[in-house]
Every structure is written in structure tokens, then in C-alpha cells.
Amino acid sequence: MGSFLLLSFLFLIAGVIAVPLASKLGLGSVLGYLIAGIVLGPVLLALNVDVINLQHFAEFGVVMMLFLVGLELEPKRLWEMRAKLLGLGGLQVGLTAVLAAGAALVFGMPWSFAVAIGLILALSSTAIVLQTFNEKGLMQSGGGQSGFSVLLFQDIAVIPMLALIPLLAMPDLVDGWNFAETGHTAEIAAPLEGATSSHDTGDATGGSNHDVEGSLDLNLVDELPGWAQALITFGAIGAVIAGGSYLTRPLFRFIELAHLRELFVAAALMMVIGIALLMTLVGLSPALGTFLAGVVLANSEYRHELESDIDPFRGLLLGLFFMTVGAGINFGLLFGNLTLVVGLTLGLMALKGAVLYLLATVFGQRGADRWLVTLSLAQAGEFGFVLLSFVVANQVLPQAIADQLLLVVALSMLLTPLLFILYDRVIVPKYVEDQAREADEIDEAGTVIIAGHGRFGGIVNRMLRQAGFSTVVLDHSSQQLEMLRAFGLKVFYGDATRPDLLHAAGIAGAKLLVIAIDDKEGATELTRYVTQNHPHVHIVARARDRNHVYDLYAAGCRDIIRDTFDSALRSGRSALEALGVHPFDAELKTRDFQDRDRHAIRELAALYDPEVELHRNTAYVERTRELMAEQEAMLLGKPGAFAMRTDRGWSPPTERDVAAEESG
């Protein structure tokens, strides 16, 4: 327990200190975590912590991230991406693997080593790249979409790679290499045993070690014949899709009975972990499984709820993952082979970058987007770590080469945030005009969030959608949702007053928020939160009564609609007409009343102080009396300085006016 607390505290404090500093310096959070990890490295070594084991645990953050990415991606859009996914992604993996293998051959490696090295280095870092895309809001750009296609293809490609690599095993060759290199590696590797112990070939004897994500060997299908394995694989994927489509809704409705926020979090975690477990059991990539589940749930009304529940865990685990990458860098080995390792790293990144640049050009990426693809994906990735321990265990590569490659992978990941900085500072300004135009287009499509879809918000939503605007509707009544679903309307489950949910619904990129929830205090709180944290969002708020108007005004909203005011005005106008007032005069009187009342309430709202009771607020009471006196004067037919506009408009000129013209 003590060591668990100590370890947690160490990682938390390193992250809490390093990341804000890195962000402040414009380096981005990923580099901050990596640096924190490097600083933490010696401490962990001294405490004899198995960093690599910890890293396998933290890789679950990648699984969660792919779940979240899946949630953002409707099946339709995934289908639209298929050309990019297979073409761009397939060619990137294929070309990079061939070229990297070729380079390895040139360095005098046997062909089996070369193939394994090529495959390992063809992969990029999903964790770093997607995290940075999200942080910088690049996910929806052309370059971001292409980068994501490549990463997704790589995640899928890992599965056949795991099947293929054991076929490359040549124990004699590996032993021979190890023997020849012994004199060289022993002296370097010896003092570092603590940090790299898990890479030792201790469990290499079995040759059937498919356990790449966790420390338990849970694979159930290994011993089965091929056809049964395939059947089970498809069965598992089918189960994820069917479960996501049909079980989520009843599950969440059941949970809702408890009215406990944390149960939603628990259920969301349960889903993600359960799917990952199922995938591990049948020998599939957990990341791919959860991604699939995410895509299935992208159309679900619980999407934003799930997103906001999982997101903090993803963030923490990925942070831990980046720190373990930093801590895992073997500086002894690095400085022993500095020129070689740095040279290999730069060579690798140049090669991967060149392939990406070529493919981005072929696939029609222009300007800044082409450079984004090139620079963002030029590193090797976390699957490289996984595959490296896998190839050593399967006697495909000798430990000495794997250790050096491990450094190359880690170093290339360390350099990636610098390439993003290069992109931000050098590439983007060059293409700034293109970018501005693109930003405008996104702005046009800027979403509208509607909080509350009852009798009020529902009408607003229908009007906006009929006018062709896309809306995201949040409501936290299951009955309401079910009713709307019956009519084919799409709404999301969730309490809009929760900032995390609002974030998941896209408040950061939204143009407008319509607040139409029944809860007065909730509406005021929501207004205050959004005006303070997202001042770019225009708020249209529904007020329940006069005091609520004042509260909303004090919270910073300037577009407040009293929910019964307009219907009351129409009733008043109908009453005037029924009393024999000419319909046009009734209309004018209605407008006039509306103007005056609006004017008065705005004036009084400025005097209102939520801390002071109304009747003790002297300025408010004073002004109310004055306004009442003015109204009184009007009633008695003494317009004074406040002549009714209705009397002025269309009034005929007087005799005097006509005489003035005729004499002039």
C-alpha cells in the first residue's frame, strides 16, 4: 500500500509540475509528460520499479482513447474514410516497412531481422499524435483526418503482424548474434539491468506468447484450430456490435434508477474494460475492439455522457504512459552509442517523413495539411515497444538490437512534440491564409447546443433545424428522450449543467448555446460558467420569471427571453382587439408595451444585486417607482416627455405645417 501511494504520488507530482510548465513554454502536454518521466527515471530506478510493466498498464489509456475516437466517428463517416484508410494507411505501412527493412539489410542484418525491424518501425504513435491533434484542435482538418486514417490502419495492422512475426523466428541466428555481440553489449547492459529486466528472454521458451497488452496470459483461442479461431473472432466482434447497439440503452436506463452520477462512470469503465478483456481473450487488439464499440455508440444518445465519463481516465493513463516512455529511456546505453542511436533516429524520421510527404501529395493533401501528415507521423510508436518485447520473446531479434531499437523508438517519440512546434511556428504561418479560410468554413457549420428539449427547447430546436443548422440537444429525462426517439429526433442524454458534459457536447467549438432547462438555478449557473469560460459562445437563455431575468443578466447573459412574456403579449393584443380596438392600433400598442417593458427590465436588471433583497435595494426601488409614475402619467393621457410612438407615427400635419409650406 505504502509503495503504491508513493509511486502514485511521484507520478502525479511530476505531471502536475511539468505539464503546466511545458504548456506555458508552448511545448504541449506530451513533451511535458515525457520530460517529467525523464526526470523521474533515476528515482524509479533507485526504487526498483518495473517501468515497462507500468507502461503496459498505462497503455490502456490508448485503448480508452480509441474508444473516444470511435465515439466521434459515426459509421457513415468511417465508411467514407475507407479509401484513405486502406490506401493511405496501407501504403504508409507497406512502403515504410519495405524501406526500413532495406536500410536494415544495408546495415548487414539478416533478412529475418530486417523484416521484423521494418514492420516495427512502420508504426507510429497513436497516443502522442491523437493527443496532440485533440489538444490543438487539428482532428477535423484534412491533415488530421489523413493522419488518423493512417494510425487506425496501423492499429489494425498490428494484429496480422503479431501472427506473422513468430514465423520469422530463427533461434540459431539470434543466438549466434548474441554470442558475437556479447563482448560488446554485456558491459553496457550490465548496469542497466534493473530498467530493462522485463525485456530479458525469460519467457521466450514457449514461442506462443501472444500476450502483448497485459501481464496475464488469458488467451483462450490459442489451442483451437484455425476455423474455430476465426469463428470466435467474428463472434466476438459481432457481440461488441450487437451489445453496443442493443444493450447500452437498457443498461443506462437501469443505472439511471439509482440517480448516482458515479454509477455512470462505473458503467462506462465497465464497458470499456469488458470489451478490452473480451478482445484479449480472443486474441484481438483491445484498442481495435473498443474503437469499434465507440463507432457503434457514436449514434447513441449516451455518447456525450460516455465521453465525459471516460475522458479523465484516458487523460491520466496517457499521461502515465508518456511518463513511462520518458522514464524508460536508457541513458547509459544512449550515451554509450550516442551517434549511432541519434543517427538512426533522425534517419528513421527522415525516411518516414519522406514516405508520408509522398503519400500525402498523392492523396491530394495540400499546403499545411501535407506538412501536418509528414511531421506528425514521422516517429515510431508505442506498438513498437510492444512488438519489440514480442520479437525478443519469439527469438526473432536478439536482445542487443532490440535494446537499441527501443532507444530509437523512444527518442523519436521524444522528438515528435518538437516537430509539432515546428509545424505551429513555421508551417502554419506560411499557409496562414489558407488556414483562415478553412477556419471560417468550420465556423459557418459551428454547432448549436440546446440544453433542455421540453416544450420550449424543442420548438427552438425544430426552428433551427428547419433553417438548416445542426444542433446538439442535451436532455436528462429518459422519458423525454424515448418520446423524441419515437419521432425520429436525435438527442443526447446528459445534464447540461455539468461542465464536462458540456465539453463533450462541443462547447469549445460551439457558436450558440440555447438554455431551455426548467431548473432556474441550474440555468443561471450554466450561464455563469459559459460566459466565464467560453466567452465566444452566444447564449440565448429562457427566464422563468422577472427575478430569473435579473439573475441571468447578472450571470452575463444579454439575450434573455421570458418564457411566458410573448404569449402574454399576444393574449393582451387579442383582448384589445376583442374590446373593439382597431387591430393595427392593438398591434402598435402591443409593440409599445413590449418596448417599454423590455427597456424597464433591462434598466432594473442593471440595478439588481443578487446579494441584496429586492425591497432593500434602494436604487432598484427608486427606479421602479419612477417607471410606475411614468406609466401612470400615460394612463391619464399626459404623455409628457414620453409621447407614445403610436401617437406620433402617421399623424397628419397641422394647419400650421401646411401654412408654413405654402408661405415658404
Binding site: R591, R645, R648, G649, W650, P653, T654, R656, D657, V658, A659, A660, E661
Partner: protein, 202 residues
């Protein structure tokens, strides 16, 4: 420097061929006030106090609109009915607009030939504009000859939009800088992009 107040009125702005482009281009001219009447009063409830204050602040009032039924879009008429009050614009004590200039920038669907005694509109354009001209006179303002584009619906194919918009921007700058020759414009009756009269040496 003359202060220019540009009133734009086009309820069908989404289908506009020329007027919206003119109004948008006018935004590039610094130091003039632009008012999109249909955007300011979407419910047609014109605020006379606000409008009269605007008029007092400016030297030149320019109405930019398409010609609707030999006249202007209805909101301009409503504006005239409510804003040009007796006692303010005319009548006893109504001299607040005295000495200012009133102008129109008009597009017509009919061709220049249509607006002749031989053409299908039977009258020259200026005949249809006499109510506005007399409105200016009654308010003791000078009426400036209108800036006109005929055959506006065919202007995009004819490549006439860009020159007309450029001429409009030029006109607005000249009006602001007081280098526009009103007398020469009066002599022409109506002006267009290639006949804008500017003061010599300016």
C-alpha cells in the same frame, strides 16, 4: 469631409445579383455609416428617434435599393412615413434637414431603352423618381442625380457587376471627400460607373 449615411434596403437580398455586392463593398470605404434597413428593422417597427438622430449626424443620405414597382422596397416608404415628421423634416419649424443632400443608388431589371418614351416602361427613369426628388425638396434638401444600373438581372453574364461595384466604391469615396461634381451629374440626369463626374484637379 462629408459624412455619408448609406441606407440599404433589399428584402430579397439572398437573390440579389448586384445590390448585396455593392453594400458589402461599401464596407471597405472608411468613414461612412452603413445601415441595412431590413436587418435593423426585421419586424418593420422603425424607431423614429434613432433614425432622426442619425440624420442629424450626417450631411448626405444615400438610399441604395432595387427599383420595385417604379418605387422603392416598402420599408423605405415606411421609413419616410415615420421619420420625415412634420416639425422635423418639413412644416412649421421643420428645417432640421435643410442643406443636406439626398441621393439614390438604383438597380433596374429593365434596360436603359425600356426607360424611354418609346420603351415598354413609357417614361424615363427620372419621371418615376419624382416623388423622392420632391420629398427632398420639401425637406429643403438637394436631390442628387441617381447612380443607376439597368438590366441588373443580366449583369452577371454581361460582366457588368464588378465595374458597377467598383464605380460605387469610387462614388462613395468621392462623396465623402467632397470631390464629386453634383452639377455635372444633374446635367446628365442619371449617372453610371463610366460617367461618374468628378471635380477637376481632385
Amino acid at each position: 469631409m462629408a459624412s455619408v449615411l448609406l441606407y440599404y434596403a433589399h428584402p430579397g437580398h439572398r437573390h440579389s445579383h448586384v445590390n448585396q455586392a455593392m453594400y458589402d463593398a461599401a464596407a471597405t470605404v472608411e468613414g461612412i455609416t452603413r445601415v441595412d434597413l431590413y436587418a435593423t428593422y426585421p419586424r418593420q417597427d422603425i424607431n423614429s428617434d434613432r433614425e432622426q438622430a442619425l440624420l442629424l449626424d450626417h450631411d448626405l443620405i444615400l438610399f441604395q435599393h432595387p427599383l420595385f414597382w417604379y418605387s422603392a422596397p416598402s420599408l423605405i416608404k415606411e421609413w419616410i412615413d415615420l421619420v420625415l415628421e412634420h416639425g422635423f423634416a418639413y412644416g412649421a419649424g421643420g428645417d432640421k434637414l435643410k442643406g443636406k443632400i439626398l441621393m439614390q443608388a438604383i438597380t433596374t431589371a429593365g434596360s436603359a431603352e425600356a426607360y424611354t418614351t418609346e420603351g415598354y416602361q413609357h417614361f424615363p427613369l427620372r419621371t418615376f423618381l419624382t416623388p423622392m426628388e420632391q420629398t427632398a425638396r420639401l425637406c429643403k434638401m438637394r436631390y442628387g442625380a441617381p447612380y443607376v444600373l439597368h438590366s441588373a438581372l443580366r449583369a452577371p453574364e454581361a460582366g457588368a457587376v464588378a465595374p458597377h461595384v467598383a464605380g460605387y466604391v469610387d462614388l462613395l469615396r468621392r462623396l465623402r471627400d467632397e470631390t464629386y461634381d453634383f452639377d455635372a451629374a444633374d446635367a446628365l440626369g442619371q449617372v453610371q460607373a463610366d460617367t461618374l463626374p468628378f471635380k477637376e484637379g481632385a
